[in-house]
């Protein structure tokens, strides 16, 4: 039972600095449990990417510790940690090097030394999950950037890692592609994967994350459920972030008994309907 209660990712007093310069992360402590869906937000240069790169050992703490499944990442190789933590990079062109989409997705699986039939099965499954069925034999550079991003995502999905880290998965995608990608992420979360994603898009945070970590100049400014974070605009402003517009509207309407933590249009609609019904009830 203790093993199950142990947090999947545990960060303890993590400080990180790139060779001798100012620390990028300052004394960060954080626990991420199994099955969470966490958004990391903050302005550029606040240390978001630096933080998540510690989760699969790409960076090792200057001081402090990072534990994955209770094991210190310090002495572990990235290629070993890759079995537990999948990481989707911002730019798919930093990884694509095969001449077909299928081979590209199979790369990570071959590194895991899986049997051929298993690889075949997982590649097809991953391609289906990202909506690229039928592109098995396509030359990746004939695809659009958005599609290549999904190839990169599939190549990590296929590895069936417990944790999936996504560094700005929707950058450079149009609205439809962004939603497609995030729906896939949501799907994975529902299947039991632990998700950590970085984004600048607050509406995505509102829609998909359960918990939000706000980073500001290498420190955690807030670590709370999404609603609680968006209900504090002054705090967000310190990291140059703004809650979604619907939340801003709710906060503007605050005096009229609309809570300040509304994060979806549907919610607002229900609240307004209710307020109107109450009003009619009392006056009519």
């Amino acid at each position: 039972m203790t093993a199950a209660r142990q947090p999947l990712i545990k960060v303890e007093n993590l400080t990180y600095q790139y060779n001798g310069a100012q620390p990028v992360l300052k004394n960060i402590s954080l626990e991420i449990g199994r099955g969470e869906c966490l958004a990391v937000i903050g302005q550029n240069g606040s240390g978001k990417t630096t933080l998540v790169k510690h989760f699969n050992g790409l960076l090792k703490p200057s001081s402090g510790r990072v534990y994955i499944n209770g094991r210190d990442t310090g002495p572990q190789k990235v290629s070993t940690l890759a079995r537990t933590v999948g990481y989707v990079f911002q730019n798919p062109d930093h990884q694509i090097f095969h001449d077909t989409v299928g081979k590209e997705v199979a790369f990570g699986l071959k590194n895991l030394r899986l049997p051929a039939e298993e690889i075949e099965r997982r590649v097809n499954e991953a391609l289906e999950a990202v909506g690229l069925t039928g592109h098995y034999a396509t030359y990746p550079f004939n695809l659009s950037k958005g599609q290549r991003q999904r190839v990169a995502l599939a190549s990590v999905l296929a590895m069936h890692t417990e944790v999936i880290v996504l560094d700005e998965p929707t950058t450079g995608q149009d609205y439809r592609e962004s939603v497609q990608i995030m729906e896939m992420v949501k799907n994975l979360h529902e299947k039991g994967h632990t998700i950590v994603f970085i984004t600048h898009d607050m509406s995505l945070v509102a829609r998909y994350a359960a918990r939000t970590v706000v980073l500001c100049e290498g420190e955690i400014l807030a670590d709370a459920p999404v609603r609680a974070v968006f209900a504090q605009p002054e705090l967000l402003a310190r990291s140059y972030l703004k809650p979604p517009q619907i939340t801003l509207l709710a906060q503007e309407l605050g005096k009229r008994a609309i809570p300040p933590d509304v994060i979806s249009v549907r919610e607002m609609y229900d609240l307004l309907q209710k307020a109107r019904a109450d009003k009619i009830g009392c006056c009519g």
Binding site: V78, Y87, F89, D93, H94, F107, G108, S155, M159
Partner: protein, 263 residues
Amino acid sequence: MAAAVEYIQKDSPVHRLNAATKIFWALFTLACGLLFNDYRYLLGLLASVLLVAAAGRVLKNLLPAITGLSVFALILLLIQALFYDQGQVIFHLIPQTSYLPVTNYGILSGVAMAARMLSLVLSFLVLLATTRIQDMVLTMVEKFKMPYDYAFMFMTTLRFIPTFLGEVRQITDAQKARGHAVEGFNPFKKIRSYAPVTVPLVLISLNKAENMAMAMETRGYGGGRRTYFKEPKMRGADYLLTAVLLLLLVLGVTARVKGLGVM
């Protein structure tokens, strides 16, 4: 070592000098390094280069490069000591035999070679660390009458080294994150295991080059005679230093002709 090739923004007397003066200084160091082969002269030259680096406040930044180069310097020293058989034998590398004698001249010429290599490379690194690329291009084109295209090509190449190293790091990270490991002692296997890094690097580089060409064209590259916003002025210190270096060079050549500084 990569970081050393970049310009390091600081306020120092060396930074304030005109690019032409510094280029002349690097050439002067090159000439002196090749003129003499006496270890004392060359060690002196090395000391002068380090002094300039210190005056430019970039000594600390160059430290990784110096450490890296020292390894090569040591190899040079060893090779000289091993294969130079003139002079007095100090000891034999295989004791109690007369094989592989190490001579005093062997060691000294090894020291000279190492000091020469270090001075030449470091003077170039100091030049790059204290001079902005734009200023260097400007000087090459205006003062040394080099065609602008060549100067630009040369500088772009330098400029791209850190960029590429950054890309290599990102690509390596992305492949490692998918469980890739550069493995084994079999050299063929090893070369093959670099493919996941080299292929994306080449593709990204081609893409970058194309984008840069477009960016250059949109900004009117090759659109006729260039004028410059900043005319780099030669100030008093520049004239003085150039004169001093010129004088030293003449003295050096004279000394060399008279047979000084040669072992």
